[in-house]
């Protein structure tokens, strides 16, 4: 293999590092209207009156749309395969405002200044209602977030809007209470993880226009172009055939752009006015009305015998959907299935969950998608169990971790065909020098250096649901075009899929021209989410290339007047082995363009009945100042099994980046609301994401297994890597201080006060 498992430079890298205009905001037509939203100041209110007459008079204002102008079909903005598990609970503009920042009116004007002036002149009379902000009290609360009669749920996910329930799920294996009663040691603790913003550097943005055929064209920073087409069709009540979605380069997504956040507003303006329209969310808007991680409260009960064999895990999770149920019913599933399945000897397990509506910002998909929260809770509880047993936290994992060859009853009964978790643990221990560093040492300045550990897994796509499709064409002169429906959002999938194609076709990487995504031209792909692209779309690449090779062989054989079985293809030519008869790929390319009824092209789709988990072990070394409680990251070691690594650079950078997002979640990031339900820390000034000063060293090693159902043996990498920092850093904090924390982020004041309390 020439390209797979090497450090190939991303195909678009040089354009990006030299600042070429390749993002949505760089491509906006000059005459596009500027779209701005008037947002609700209240967390729960009804629009009683709305008067736009004064605002309409502002020079340059083109249109102002209110709920009276918008279609009345409910839809979900969650980018998921139809029928979406997320309830249809949303309108483009609703009279009932369910969270601060819900859109009240859409203003479109010739200039930003005119739009902003008009926003201030729209007069709204609100009937302000009491908001429901505490998600632990939401179920059966007298305040209903979704009292409307036309609320719809397409899938049976246990939705009951009359009880503020977005979804419910119960999974049970064995008798949990019985198993717990036989355990020598048990731990029970309730954990609380917060809503986090993806904080991708490019905020939500979209422009729309009517093309030469009169169809709505949507150019957007989206992870889900094909879902976007359907969602816009639902929202605008226009046929899908009238919509085309184009994805240029994306300035980061991390799941945020798996929801259709900004697209609906300029689309409505373009449909109403016929004009091109552009919206770019401010950072504040991205913070207050994006699609953040679900805040959760999780109670874990875990039990083991005195030798440290973990017998049972019971997990209850309560998730805050916020005002809308995007990804609510699906994120919650991962909390249980991806966390419990790390342990392979369970006699009994239970996962019980409820997702509730409140009047806070609607949540969405954020890297890890529930697994991050569940793994944090279970891994933190297992660390506490190890402490109670007097065991090294690595030793309890070595004894209990899931192994290759096992069937995973808590993971939809899927087989664990590729798992190097044991090797990951050994490698991480060696890299961290765990035996010497565990648990802590005190430095001369009084600071404490300590280490902590956690394991993690994720999936590779959604089994039996996600579809990856590609088309590959041989062009004249013998180069290829690879058409993709998945979305490179900086992750580099355009490049890694080209690497696979180049290896399948034995050609130079430069011979593969990649193009994605335009829903009019690209083959259908569910999009880039759920860690699906490498594994699912990658397999579609392998299949399409195999098919194209056959066609090349056939055409070559025909040109040589030989039977197909007599010839071979080496990437450059079709030839008869041993005899000097050959036809070059270039000649085949030209020939296929002349007088033939078929061009050489292959299109393949792939969907997997399984979602093989990638695994990893993460170890944190911290420097803790016991006087101030400040935790400084010193070193982070990651040993990752993502199957075959397709691109060593990109997999490494994915890992480093995911770990840093996890560090942010553990130590800094926390969406906070005022008592009235307004997000307080709605800027980078207040919502702190890690800077390069905060992260210490990060070292990554790959311990690859070989996944038989994946392309070249590959599994996923993108989401897995965010899951270990929270529990590993908490474990390091415990090893430094003896304090167990259960609420994220762990702030210096929590540690300092905890130490004071402990000292009495």
């Amino acid at each position: 293999m020439a390209y797979v498992n090497t450090r190939v430079r991303k195909k678009d890298a040089m354009a990006l590092v030299t600042g070429k205009p390749v993002y949505t905001g760089d491509l906006v037509p000059q005459n596009a209207l500027v779209v701005k939203l008037l947002r609700s100041p209240h967390a729960n209110a009804l629009v009683q009156e709305i008067d736009t007459s004064l605002a309409q008079k502002v020079p340059g204002v083109c249109c102002i749309l209110t709920y009276q102008d918008a279609p009345q079909s409910r839809f979900t903005t969650a980018g998921q395969t139809y029928p979406e598990p997320s309830p249809y609970d949303r309108l483009i503009l609703d009279r009932h405002l369910r969270c601060v920042g819900d859109p009240v009116a859409i203003v479109a004007a010739e200039t930003q200044a005119a739009a902003q002036k008009a926003l201030k002149l729209v007069k709204v009379k609100y009937q302000v209602l009491e908001p429901l902000l505490d998600f632990t009290k939401a179920k059966d609360h007298p305040i209903l977030v979704h009292p409307e009669e036309n609320f719809r749920s397409l899938c049976d996910v246990g939705t009951d809007p009359k009880r503020n329930l977005c979804s419910t799920e119960l999974f049970e294996m064995g008798d949990v209470e019985e198993a717990l009663s036989h355990c020598d040691v048990t731990v029970e603790r309730t954990f609380h993880t917060k809503a986090n913003n993806q904080a991708m550097m490019e905020t939500f943005r979209t422009f729309t226009y009517l093309d030469e055929y009169g169809r709505l064209t949507v150019v957007s920073s989206t992870q889900v172009p094909f879902h976007c087409r359907r969602i816009l069709s639902n929202a605008l009540e226009i046929p899908k055939s009238q919509i085309r979605v184009i994805k240029p380069r994306i300035g980061g997504g991390f799941g945020a752009k798996q929801s259709v956040v900004s697209e609906i507003f300029p689309a409505l303006v373009t449909m109403k006015t016929g004009r091109a329209a552009y919206i770019a969310y401010t950072r504040q808007e991205s913070m207050t009305n994006g699609s953040p991680r679900h805040e959760m409260q999780m109670t874990v009960r875990v039990g083991a015998d005195r030798d440290g064999n973990i017998q049972v895990i019971d997990l209850y999770a309560l998730s805050n959907a916020g005002a809308y149920g995007d990804h609510g019913p699906t994120t919650i599933g991962l909390v249980g299935h991806k966390a419990l399945s790390l342990y392979g000897k369970l006699q009994a397990a239970r996962f019980n969950s409820e997702v509730v509506y409140t009047n806070t910002m609607g949540a969405g998909a954020y890297r890890g998608y529930g697994a991050t929260q569940g793994i944090f809770a279970v891994e933190a509880a297992v660390n506490e169990l190890a402490a109670k047993l007097g065991m090294d936290p690595c030793a309890i994992r070595e004894r209990n971790m899931v192994c290759q060859g096992q069937t995973m009853p808590t993971y939809y009964g899927e087989p664990n065909n590729s798992c190097a978790l044991d090797r990951c643990m050994a490698r991480a221990k060696e890299m961290m020098d765990w035996e010497h560093k565990y648990p802590r040492r005190v430095l001369e300045n009084g600071h404490i250096r300590s280490v902590g550990v956690a394991m993690a897994m994720q999936g590779s796509g959604i089994s039996g649901v996600d579809i990856g499709s590609v088309e590959i064409r041989l062009n004249d002169d013998g180069f290829y075009t690879l058409l993709l429906g998945c979305t490179d959002m900086g992750t580099g999938c355009d490049t890694i899929l080209a690497q696979m194609a180049a290896d399948c076709l034995d050609c130079d990487l430069d011979q593969i021209a990649v193009r994605g995504v335009d829903t009019d031209q690209s083959p259908y792909d569910t999009g880039s989410y759920a860690s699906s692209t490498t594994y699912v779309t990658g397999m579609a690449v392998v299949k399409a290339c195999e098919k194209l090779r056959e066609k090349i062989l056939e055409t070559g054989a025909t040109l040589l007047n030989l039977p197909k079985e007599a010839v071979e293809f080496d990437g450059k030519r079709v030839f008869q082995p041993g005899i000097d008869r050959q036809v070059s790929l270039s000649e085949i390319g030209y020939a296929s363009y002349e007088g033939h009824s078929r061009c050489l092209s292959a299109s393949e789709s792939h969907s997997s009945p399984v979602s093989p988990p990638p695994f990893m072990v993460g170890m944190a070394e911290i420097d803790l100042d016991p006087d101030t409680g400040k935790v400084q990251m010193v070193d982070y070691v990651a040993a990752v099994d993502c199957g075959t690594v397709i691109n060593q650079n990109l997999a490494r950078v994915q890992t480093e980046g995911g770990i840093v997002q996890g560090i942010g979640m553990c130590l800094f990031e926390d969406i906070q609301y005022s008592p009235q339900g307004r997000m307080c820390n709605d800027s980078f000034l207040q919502y702190k994401i890690p800077s390069r000063m905060d992260v210490g060293k990060i070292r990554v090693a790959f311990e690859s297994s070989y996944e038989p159902t994946g392309p070249f043996g590959a599994k996923s990498i993108g989401e897995l890597v965010i899951n270990t920092p929270c529990p590993a850093i908490l474990n390091a904090i415990y090893n430094a201080t003896g304090l167990f924390f259960d609420t994220l982020p762990v702030r210096p004041q929590d540690i300092a006060l905890g130490l004071l309390e402990k000292q009495g």
Partner: protein, 153 residues
């Protein structure tokens, strides 16, 4: 207000609103490498050089550039490609949205600091946020780039 600004070697005289930010002025001039990532001067995406010194163009008024020389990544294409190649070889651009501001600040650092230590590099670039990479690949690229530069000297 009337201003005269040299942008990437070309002189412009324009009538601008007094509250126009340099960032918007530059994007209006086609310098689309200049990105806005926040409204609070926290992210570093809009970094350009004003008379050779790095500034945040989101928080400098266009009128402040009157009579001055502004350079964006469009005006430093050769340097950008030279350092950018190291970044690309580490996969350190990822989504690339923060790359222009980051590269502008790296190039400013290179002029300002002689043989910077890792600590000095981190401090100099602390204001350039990146959500994709975790910063490690950027440090590797910078160190390799500076080492190569030194070799060539």
């Amino acid at each position: 207000m009337k201003i005269t600004v040299t942008v990437n070697g070309r002189r412009y005289t324009d009538e601008v609103a007094p509250d126009l930010m340099l960032l918007d002025y530059l994007r209006g001039k086609g310098c689309l490498s200049v990105k806005r990532g926040c409204e609070t001067s926290n992210c570093g995406l809009c970094t350009v050089h004003l008379d050779g010194k790095p500034i945040l163009s989101c928080s400098v008024l266009a009128v402040r550039a009157d009579g001055h020389v502004v350079t964006t990544l469009e005006g430093l294409q050769q340097e950008a490609a030279e350092f950018g190649a190291f970044l690309a070889d580490e996969g350190g651009e990822q989504c690339g949205f923060c790359s222009p501001g980051f590269v502008m600040n790296v190039l400013a650092m290179e002029r300002e600091l002689q043989n910077p230590t890792e600590e000095e590099i981190l401090e100099y670039l602390a204001g350039n946020l990146c959500r994709c990479t975790g910063y490690q690949s950027q440090m590797r690229a910078i160190q390799q780039y500076l080492a190569r530069k030194k070799e060539v000297e």
